[in-house]
Amino acid sequence: MAFENNVDIDHPVHDVRTEAIRNFENKGFPSKKEEAWKYTSLNSLQKVDFSIFPKEFNALEYKDVKKYFLHEIDTYKIVFIDGMYSSYLSETTHDGVDICLMSSALTKPMYKQIIDVYFNKVASRDDSLTTLNTAFSREGAYIYIPKNKMPKKPVEIIHFATGNETALLLQPRNLIIVEENAELQVIERHQSLTTNEVLTNSVTEIYAAKSAILDYYKVQNDLGSASLIDNTYINQKSKSAVSVHTFSFGGKLTRNNLNFFQNGEYIDSTLKGVTILGEKQLVDHHTLVHHIEPNCESHQDYKGIYGENSTGVFNGKIIVDKIAQKTNAFQQNNNILISDKATINTKPQLEIFADDVKCSHGCTIGQLDEEALFYLQSRGIPKKEARALLMYAFANNVLQSVRIPELKTRINKLIANKLGVRLGFEL
């Protein structure tokens, strides 16, 4: 991969990028020898000759991709096609809040101060895939919500891959800042439109200032030819509440590196996920919650349903620093295997240095409850539908906290679809 030819040396964050390139060159791609990548191999992806920077701009008609938007409600939209911004499909704003593009935030002088303070500050400087993104990313979403503001509607960030390149590497970079007492809702989606291979290595930096509220929803329902490495870094200040829901129903290989840093007191962090896989799909959730200050909470709840030859990984790391007394940290990971060939590797990783904390974690791996299945069948519900109902019930807890009703309905439909049933009512 000859990245160097495409590096813009006049770029405003050139120094940051140079450092990132150096760090990536030192480390290279992670291998299975590293503990954090024990169950997820990138080998097959590295053999693909990805095109890094597509030359052509590809257009899409709204009617052809409407179904990937939450079109039931009005939203702001930041849309990319093969990594390039599509103004035609987007709806951005500068009216009191900034919902626009990373490229313009990086180049326009008016944003310089913010970029200096926030760009690449919470993102890791030595995680190799993050540095790869830092070095070469060109585009992404930039959202700035000033103090006490709340955008009128949720923001959708959608990346389409058209398949015009045989194999495409995308490296979106998002920067989201929610200032004091401000609020924001974001829905992120990556969607490949053909069976040509796509690898997305995405980095999102999120800053939630004092008393800010952010709900972030990741909808991962891509085709079997698409892989995603999502690196999300969240820095929270006192009394802020950030939730990230990850719905993983598709894709070939999906790795979610979700990192929360609690830099303040009375912070609430919520990490929830529903994973339903089949075929040879793999989803790997690596979460980190770093409790740095006292009196904070974190809630993790991940449910997984694995069928056919699919593989799931859950690695939940919680660090409680010595001064972070009165921390409440909860972690749940429950899994159902519905095929003999499906695998789940689940591991809680707790590093607790404070003595006055409440931390709980629980992992379960099981099958569907036979008694419950019999109950539903005895009411005339066929086995297939009965199983689906039970799986839906199993995942349901996670859906309760979705605060956009239309999104909840949509996720329910995706679940019913993924379970292959028509239940006779809208879930």
């Binding site: 019999f374 069948q377 005895s378 009411r379 005339g380 539908e385 839906y392 349901n396 006779g424």
Partner: protein
């Protein structure tokens, strides 16, 4: 309606039913009593088709049709209903949606279209009144956080909606206070007709004061050891099961 002949069933290596013979006709109420572990709940589950139990000998027939290899849902479609001793909680699925699925799956099996929404609502409203069920209850998740009494009432509510030919009430009286017991029994009595039959499985005679049986059978060690009229239940209540055990051994 129901004919059970020399029924043997086991779970894993343990034989639980050891030769049951029972005939239930339309319009009849049968009570099956017996001490803990005598096989009452197993008999109920085997009639409803629970796959965990293996029928090793004998047969269960419904209206002349052998139910061997018939899945639980198909048995439900043919008109068998089992009221569970421990109804299962299904979070996220409301009582109404659950019933809608059950009704429409049953109709689908019979080659009928889905029941129109207004008809469905009317049916649900009518039957919830019969069981004195509050409207709010219908939009709660099935059995989730229900009290013991609410769960049992909900079972009979489902029975009222599905209108089975043969209803088996497995320990429906357990965990019920006297008011709930009366409401449940009253519901069952209103649903009773010349065309359907009820099997009441109970440990105690209490429920039989409200749902009066035509026949009482005593199950012990996987066999029916004594049958009689409704007075047998009173006798059991008075003397306990020990005298019977002795009698059987002799």
């Amino acid at each position: 309606m129901l004919k059970i002949t020399d029924l043997h069933a086991r779970v894993e290596d343990k034989e639980i039913l050891r030769g049951i013979n029972l005939e239930v006709n339309a319009g009849e109420v049968h009570a099956i009593m017996g001490p803990n572990g005598s096989g009452k709940s197993t008999l109920a589950a085997v009639i409803a088709g629970k796959e965990e139990f293996e029928v090793t000998q004998g047969s269960v027939e419904l209206e002349g049709e052998n139910l061997e290899d018939t899945a639980p849902e198909e048995r439900a479609h043919k008109g068998i209903f089992l009221s569970f001793q421990y109804p299962v909680e299904i979070p996220g699925v409301t009582v109404t949606n659950f019933m809608r699925t059950a009704i429409n799956e049953s109709r689908k099996a019979k080659g009928l279209e889905d029941m129109p929404a207004n008809e469905m609502l009317k049916l649900i409203r009518e039957k919830s009144e019969l069981l004195e069920i509050d409207r709010k209850f219908l939009s709660r998740s099935l059995n989730e956080g229900f009290s013991g009494g609410e769960k049992k009432r909900n079972e009979i509510f489902q029975m009222a909606i599905l209108e089975p030919k043969l209803a088996i009430l497995d320990e429906t009286d357990s965990g019920l206070d006297i008011d709930a017991l009366r409401i449940v029994a009253n519901g069952v009595n209103k649903l009773k007709s010349k065309k359907n039959a009820v099997i009441v499985i109970t440990h105690y005679q209490r429920l039989l004061e409200y749902i009066v049986p035509d026949f009482v059978h005593v199950l012990h060690n996987g066999k029916i050891v004594k049958s009689g009229g409704k007075d047998l239940a009173l006798e059991l209540e008075e003397k306990g099961y020990d005298w019977l055990k002795n009698e059987v051994v002799v």
